[in-house]
Symmetry: C2
Subunit: 348 residues, 2 copies
């Protein structure tokens, strides 16, 4: 006999039907201890009957908590950002928070600040910014918002709390793998200059070579796209004649372009040139040949970021937890030779 109503029922309506005060209804909903079992049942029945749902705005107003977090992301059709976004959302939901997302095509300082304003209007209690570009993060450091902001994938060091995978370590893994397989020299196709991750991967590559007593060769640059990898691949193919045998590419998509360029130039992988990527996107296993690459633990990134943000929101402590780095993992496939002691890769 639930009659259709224009206004959804309020707590007072439920209270009236159950013959209690609105506060008792609130207590039942809030799982407060001191409610008689019988009363609780009565209230629950009334709630059920009226199809009652608490009004979130009123609740938020009274408690001063919206239980909403914001996320700013860009390039969400790429595997890395999409995975991070997913992980963040899942972690936040597990903590009972709603997530409002702003996706940007390109992350610029203006757009980032607009996005934060938009989220601020929406009443978020904190924001995670997937901001892998240094310029954006630097700008962020200057702005003031009435809620904490945590960044993902950017370096820390600007005083903004941040979580990231240890890109440097991943690059060491990749470069070390190539050296161990017998290569005398390892080239690098890096990501865009402004990206912290690109810089960290390049630094890891350079350091590993130097530690092995190898002078790092000219570093190439792409923009993460297969297209840019293809162009760089043509350059690499040209050098394959004069001693180039191994390349560490800063992401899998560029590696795809490199593989195509090498193949078109008649350069075999891994016999002539070994290739290592970064990210372990699902497709990389099916490239020609399947790609050796570095896997990142995105779910861990999501959990850590949300944990850090909630710490900032609830603890209110400006110091915040120390920056966290998550360890990546090497996945060896057919685009490189496995490590075989005493054997030179080039003659395998």
């Amino acid at each position: 006999m639930t009659q259709a109503q224009l206004r959804p029922p309020t707590m007072a309506d439920v209270a009236r039907l159950a013959g209690v005060s609105h506060q008792t209804v609130s207590r039942v909903l809030g799982n407060h201890p001191n409610v008689r079992q019988e009363t609780r049942a009565k209230v629950l029945r009334a709630i059920e009957e009226m199809g009652y749902r608490r009004n979130s705005s009123a609740r938020a107003l009274a408690t001063r908590r919206t239980r909403t977090l914001g996320v700013v992301a860009s390039d969400t059709t790429l595997y890395g950002p999409a995975s991070t976004l997913f992980a963040l959302e899942e972690a936040a939901r597990a903590e009972g928070y709603l997530v409002s997302t702003v996706s940007l095509r390109r992350l610029t300082v203006d757009k980032l600040s607009e996005a934060l304003d938009h989220l601020s209007e929406g009443g978020v209690e904190g924001v995670v910014a997937i901001a892998p570009q240094r310029s954006a993060v630097e700008a962020l450091a200057g702005l003031r918002y009435p809620f904490p902001v945590v960044t993902v994938g950017s370096g820390s060091g600007l005083g903004i709390p941040s979580v990231c995978v240890d890109q440097y370590a991943g690059a060491c893994l990749a470069t070390g793998h190539l050296l161990a397989a017998g290569h005398r020299q390892v080239w690098h196709l890096a990501g865009p200059e402004d990206w912290q991750e690109a810089a960290d991967r390049a630094a890891g590559w350079r350091a590993t070579l130097e530690a092995a007593g190898v002078e790092p060769p000219l570093m190439l640059r792409g923009d993460w796209s297969p297209q840019s990898g293809y162009r760089a691949g043509q350059e690499l193919a040209r050098r394959a004649g004069s001693g180039l045998t191994a390349v560490f590419v800063a992401n899998d998509q560029m590696a795809l372009g490199v593989l195509r360029a090498l193949r078109e130039a008649g350069v075999r992988t891994p016999e002539d040139v070994a290739v290592v990527g970064f990210d372990d996107i699902p497709e990389s296993e099916f490239y020609a040949p399947p790609l050796t690459t570095v896997r990142q633990d995105f779910p861990a990134v999501g959990r850590q970021s949300i944990a850090m943000l909630l710490g900032l929101i609830e603890g209110c402590g400006p110091p915040g937890p120390a920056p966290i780095a998550i360890e990546p993992q090497l996945v060896v496939r057919a685009s490189t030779f496995p490590y075989t002691p005493g054997q030179d890769a080039r003659t395998a």
Copy 2:
């Protein structure tokens, strides 16, 4: 001389500083016409000075509008869903709405209903569900929520408003292209049975063949992943010896697996077997060989869905706009022969 305050300033604080009533502040913020220029300036100065921001919860409570939409998505690391999500979010933001997202790893009836409950708790005014699986949409038809729900990528016909790309037309384009290039027969590697898009693509394929007087061969099935494409590709390679010359694969990622299986079996593409994919993901241009595929207009999907949802929210009319289908587009690359009249593809 802005002093730090524990509680953020309220409208009343601003009003006091500006020497007006709080209602005048509200009018300035709401861009109401009848405020004297001078008063407006005074108020704006006070707002600026105090760093005042309207409290969204209080606003939502008073207006009964949260200006928040919900989106339920799954498989967001795939290109299609990620693009749709991005387009939705952008379209909603353009209309001044905040978007709360729930991403699901796998879309099941239970998870979908949990997601809608979670969004409902968050006070969304409407939800777009990216629900490409028929079972989920059917379940949705049974549930009642206090807000309208629009689906994307599911068929309509269940009484739930829906927007999608015309998959059937896309499949006709793909299959027709192969027939026009001279192939006598076209095989099909379909997506999972439960997916509406997979069913529509299969139907378009079948209808095109039948219209050309060709008996459709056995249909293979995958699960969208490169792995499943690889397995199906091995089967296809086996049949390449006995007359198979063309395959229409239901998405690009499976096509990647097919290409690899064919290559490993020594079957050349397109000389021995031509392959067409679906989606036009950014990488497909760099496959070996570059993939002929069907491009979908995701931004249009986003705009239409949001427009439909807002129509339902604001118009309140249960009839709602008619289901909208968006036209896809064929992108021809090297994995197929272009159409050359009078020439048999197999001898090209």
